[in-house]
């Protein structure tokens, strides 16, 4: 009996791997454990055995069934697996090139704006926005720039016609609309809306009446930075500049303030920075932007008392920083949008 049982198990073990479809497995299963199967036949013989041998024989047959059943189930599963795996198709040559387009890119100016805003965010500055269309008051008068200042000349600033009406950009009085010549106008809008203390960065487009060449563009981008609080001092300005340029160009970066003049800051400075690892420009002072302590007249113009509040402001040229960081030699690349240029900036 025992030999017969083992022979049946061995047969099933031998046959199952040959099964191609589920019916093959079913046939093997039936030949062993089905109503007409060999194990069932042996089971039917039990009553013919000596009474003392019957329990042992029953045990053996049941043990054999328990052994065979999982083998059958596994065989069914294997066939289903193979069926589904067939949908994988032919094995590919894993060295073949991709078919789909690679991940797209963000414009280097966007990357630069993100980077700088991120640096400022760590220091508690958040982003403010205002329109590209502005009015003379917000762009000049409120920023302490008198009517006869050269920057307000029609030769340098792009104006809209006198009759222009803009539904969603408010005027102060009856002044002209223009394309903002700097992002400093956001200072005024933000201070009027939010008061003080305030700590903002405002990235955006600015416009000058410039002929396009390798370093001039009809529009360009600036990031305005404004901090107004009680007791903001010149040393705080120096500290934020050091922080900014170390964050942008590494810990070797140094900054220097050089006296200058802007109507909206007093004192006013040009910022020079110097750093290693900037190719030919390494370890030289590089003029980068204007900055200063917000002029008391500007604070008065937005209803803040300069006896209580003070602060600093500056406007950083995004193209200029991007050109330095990425060694770009011509500002026109930014606006030509040749993919051979755009695709070079993969790192977000």
């Amino acid at each position: 009996m025992e030999d017969k049982i083992n022979a049946i198990i061995a047969r099933v073990e031998r046959e199952l791997p040959k099964a191609v479809q589920a019916s093959d497995v079913a046939a093997i299963s039936a030949s062993a454990t089905g109503p007409n199967g060999d194990l069932t036949a042996l089971m039917k013989l039990i009553p013919t055995l000596d009474k003392s041998e019957r329990p042992a024989a029953g045990k053996l047959i049941n043990a054999a069934k328990r052994k065979i059943e999982p083998m059958i189930l596994a065989a069914y599963a294997e066939i289903e697996n193979r069926k589904m795996a067939a949908a994988l198709g032919e094995k590919p040559d894993i060295s073949l090139p991709n078919i789909d387009a690679q991940r797209g890119t963000l414009h280097p100016l966007t990357l630069t704006i993100r980077k700088i805003c991120g640096i400022f965010k760590k220091a508690g500055f958040t982003v403010a926005e205002a329109g590209d269309l502005e009015t003379e008051w917000f762009c000049f008068d409120a920023l302490n720039t008198p009517a006869d200042h050269p920057a307000r000349d029609a030769q340098d600033t792009l104006f809209m016609p006198r009759e222009t009406k803009v539904a969603n950009i408010s005027k102060h009085g009856d002044e002209l609309y223009l394309l903002r010549s700097h992002t400093s106008s956001v200072q005024i809008r933000a201070m009027l809306k939010e008061g003080a203390p305030i700590r903002i960065v405002a990235p955006g487009r600015a416009f000058r009446r410039d002929t396009v060449d390798a370093t001039h563009s009809a529009n360009f981008h600036q990031i305005e930075c404004l901090y107004i609080d009680k007791n903001v001092r010149l040393t705080d300005l120096k500290a934020v500049l050091d922080y900014l340029f170390k964050s942008l160009f590494g810990n070797s970066a140094k900054t220097r303030l050089r006296p200058s003049f802007f109507p909206f800051t007093e004192p006013s400075f040009e910022v020079d920075f110097m750093t290693e690892n900037l190719g030919k420009l390494s370890n030289k002072w590089i003029e980068i932007m204007g900055c200063g302590m917000v002029d008391p007249n500007v604070l008065k113009n937005v209803g803040l008392d300069p006896e209580i509040w003070s602060g600093y402001a500056f406007g950083l040229g995004v193209e200029r920083v991007a050109m330095l960081v990425h060694s770009i030699d011509d500002i026109r690349h930014f606006y030509a949008n040749d993919v051979r240029f755009l695709k070079q900036f993969q790192n977000r």
Binding site: T110, D148, R162, E194, D236, A239, M293
Partner: protein
């Protein structure tokens, strides 16, 4: 402005400072340097003119000659060994005698000694141009073709060395548009004494001088608050002396004649522009300063005739214009070779008015440059006295004892009270009262102690830009050295303020589109109106009043046109790409001309850019851009599934292949997406299909507060799904039908204890079995109960009712 170092040295002794020290100091004072140029010959004692008498071959060196050179008319010639070959006996050359020091290129000096060269004694050196520091020629000896006398010191043959700094001044520093102004800054910076020229001419001032060349000056305009007319009789016009010519040339001015040169010299010295009139041409012995009449004409010194508006200020005699105030003199009254009597104008003209006139007429004169940056009212007096002194010196004649003066200085000295504590508070670091007063005094301000805490600082009239305590803080830090501001820790406080939601939206949209394989672009805001008018109706309201170029004369009304430019460029450059996108501002104008500034995100995809690949992918189609648009709307916070789109009829989009929704006035946003009009693509020279979309919105839309999303529980039981096919006209909107069926299904299942979970369209078919001009749409209706597994019968009952209801309006497909 060009500033000569030799000239500066007349007012402040800078001889102990190197060019480098001065070049570093000026920018740190706020006077930016454009260029530094050293010309002429340094002082070189013991370098003289010599004549080569003979040359013999050196006995021990092929390339050397041994020359006899006469270096003094009286003494015997000396022997010099020389390697050059470009000379012949009889030539005169510079000879450096023992003890002379020649400049080396690195800024050092090379001492000439008696020496032995290959066994032959050499008693000096004959020099090339480069060896004297006169340029770079080192091809041979500098042959002195003019044959100056033997023994003449070389410095008498060549002009003196001078260094010229070209300085770029900020708009507030009119006081530095002069040599005295720059000298004052350097004196203050280096703690040196400033010496101004001694003024000898001390006229009596009168409004109505008698017996002079002029009887009266009348000021009829507020644009001229102060006018001095001095009279000099009997000048002799001729060339200026060398020293004056050299000074003017160093500063970049041409010498004209002695009288005109004096006016220019004093302008460069004091910063006060002057004008000399030929007294013969002053009709009526009178000067009138008045506004021009509209259309009035004047011919200026440069021979050009200008037509004026009433904005311009004129200098007139009794009969008409003789000069454009503060800008340029008139041709009719200029100094001529036979001029004998001079009326010298020194005046203060309103800076804004001069600037406006010179800009308007495009006259960039030295006078206008200075007046428009505000001259020193006190300097009006000093400069006129100085000019009279110099005229008498270089042109002879005699000055009238009485000068005609009308008006008064618009600005004098000002007192500003300031405390050291205030300065320290603005700076953030401590400075002492001594340091403060020292710096102010060095700048020419006077300082007095005013009680215990405050200083009373008197700022002279030449500083138009210092009026307030904060201005004094700037002056202090400028001279103290802004490079000495100490390092300080960066202080930062956390902020609950959020980034502007527009910045966040653009950031998220850019990440989404770039992750979809598109490349971000930046296109110009300004476009060509003649192009834009073809596709955008109200472009005429978006035009600038003063465009620089006609192809950049209006604001863009869409981002799409810029992106099509990019597609075109990249196709013609043979580049591979999937598509492009841009975030930016666009400008909308309604038919009444009112403009809205809108925020916009647009993208384009090409069918393919011609790139060959080993396997194909499905090309983009309408649903590629529809799905992208839905995602952008979701980023904006708008649920697109509820929107009913319309077919888009627009000059930029292909009718029937493009859709739109919304208006910026009503919903605050507007979308357009689909296929870009083929005829438009072909007009632009793009031979590939382009799909795209643009989402434009008012900035307040992005600021709408978004609901915090709350969890909704979902059923644990299975759904029962029934399919329904409907045959409709092929133009029937699937969305409409879907929404109808959904409504019917909801109404029929009402009160049955379960819900319609969804109605999804899963098949669109036309062809066999569907009549011509019709289509079959198949929907799967999903029913689900939150509480139990649904029984077939109860679902069938509702589904049958739904079919019956739908069947009333449409033909069902069985």
């Amino acid at each position: 402005m060009k500033v000569s170092l030799n000239w500066l040295n007349k007012y402040v002794d800078l001889s102990d400072l190197s060019i480098e020290q001065i070049s570093e100091a000026l920018p740190m004072l706020g006077l930016e340097i454009e260029s530094v140029e050293t010309t002429g010959l340094k002082s070189m004692p013991k370098v003289v003119v010599g004549e080569i008498l003979s040359r013999q071959q050196h006995p021990n060196a092929d390339k050397l000659g041994v020359c006899e050179v006469k270096v003094s008319p009286d003494a015997a010639p000396i022997q010099i060994v020389c390697g050059a070959t470009n000379y012949k006996p009889g030539d005169r050359v510079p000879v450096a005698l023992p003890g002379a020091a020649l400049p080396t290129p690195d800024g050092g000096e090379f001492q000439i000694k008696v020496s032995q060269l290959r066994g032959v004694q050499s008693n000096g050196m004959m020099c090339s141009a480069r060896e004297l520091g006169l340029g770079s020629d080192h091809s041979g000896l500098l042959i002195l073709e003019s044959r100056p006398e033997i023994g003449t010191p070389i410095n008498e043959v060549f002009p003196d060395s001078d260094t010229v700094f070209e300085i770029e001044l900020t708009a507030n520093r009119g006081d530095c548009l002069s040599h005295i102004g720059v000298a004052r800054e350097l004196a203050a910076r280096f703690g040196k004494k400033l010496t101004k020229p001694e003024l000898k001419y001390a006229p009596k001032y009168s409004e109505k001088p008698e017996g002079g060349l002029i009887d009266a000056v009348e000021l009829e305009t507020p644009n001229c608050p102060l006018y001095i007319a001095s009279s000099i009789k009997g000048v002799k016009i001729g060339p200026s002396p060398d020293w004056m010519r050299r000074s003017l040339e160093a500063a970049g001015m041409r010498s004209i004649n002695n009288v005109v040169d004096v006016t220019n010299y004093v302008m460069l010295e004091y910063g006060q522009p002057l004008h000399a009139f030929d007294a013969r041409d002053l009709r009526g012995k009178k000067i009138v300063v008045r506004q021009a009449k509209d259309g009035e004409k004047i011919q200026t010194l440069d021979d050009k005739t200008h037509t004026l508006t009433s904005e311009a200020t004129l200098i007139c005699d009794a009969e008409g214009p003789i000069g454009l105030a503060g800008v340029m003199g008139g041709l009719n009254s200029e100094v001529k070779p036979d001029t004998a009597n001079i009326v010298l104008e020194s005046a203060y003209f309103n800076h804004g008015n001069v600037r406006a006139t010179s800009r308007k007429l495009s006259i960039n004169s030295d006078a206008a440059y200075r007046f428009s940056r505000d001259v020193d009212p006190q300097g009006v007096f000093d400069a006129s006295r100085r000019a009279v002194d110099l005229m008498l010196e270089v042109a002879g004649g005699s000055a009238e004892e009485i000068s005609c003066v009308v008006g008064k200085a618009p600005r004098g000295d000002r007192n500003i009270d300031i405390s050291v504590e205030y300065i320290n508070d603005r700076l953030g670091f401590e400075v002492s009262e001594n340091e403060v007063s020292e710096i102010f005094k060095n700048l020419g301000f006077s300082v007095e102690k005013n009680g215990q805490e405050t200083l009373s600082v008197t700022v002279p009239s030449f500083r138009s830009d210092v009026d307030r305590p904060i201005d004094l803080v700037e002056e202090f830090i400028r001279l103290y050295g802004s490079d000495k501001i100490p390092d300080a820790p960066m202080s930062a406080n956390a902020s609950t303020r959020d980034d502007d939601p527009l910045f966040t939206f653009f950031g998220n949209a850019a990440d989404y589109l770039a992750d979809s394989g598109l490349n971000e672009c930046q296109n110009y805001t300004l476009r060509d109106s003649s192009e834009q008018e073809k596709t955008s109706p109200n472009t005429k309201f978006l035009k600038l009043s003063n465009p620089l170029a006609s192809d950049q004369d209006c604001l863009r009304s869409t981002l799409l046109t810029g992106l099509l430019d990019v597609v075109k460029l990249n196709l013609s450059n043979g580049n591979c790409f999937k598509g492009f996108f841009e975030n930016g501002k666009i400008f909308d104008s309604d038919s009444a001309g009112e403009i809205l500034e809108l925020c916009s995100t647009a993208f384009v995809l090409t069918e393919d850019c011609g790139e060959r690949k080993w396997a194909e992918r499905q090309k983009p189609d309408f649903f590629t851009v529809k799905s992208a648009m839905f995602d952008l709307l979701a980023i904006l916070g708008v649920d697109a599934s509820r929107l009913n789109f319309s077919n888009l009829d627009d000059p930029m989009w292909e009718s029937g292949y493009a859709a739109s929704f919304g208006s910026v006035k009503r919903e605050g946003f507007r979308i357009k997406f689909g296929a870009v009009k083929v005829s438009e693509l072909r007009r632009l020279g793009i031979e590939k299909l382009v799909w795209g979309g643009e989402l434009s919105f008012r900035d307040d839309v992005v600021s709408r507060k978004r609901k915090t999303q709350k969890y909704e529980p979902f059923s644990q039981f299975p759904a029962a799904v029934r399919d329904l096919s409907v045959i409709v006209d092929s133009s029937k909107s699937a969305a409409e039908l879907c929404s109808d069926i959904s409504k019917i299904a909801k109404s029929k299942s009402k009160g049955k204890g379960f819900d319609v979970e969804s109605v999804n369209l899963f098949d669109v078919y036309s062809g066999d079995g569907v009549p011509e001009g019709m289509k079959s749409l198949a929907f799967a209706i999903s029913f689900r109960s939150p509480e139990k597994t649904l029984l077939t019968e109860e679902v069938n009952e509702v589904f049958d009712a739904v079919c019956a209801e739908v069947g009333k309006k449409h033909k069902l497909r069985t």
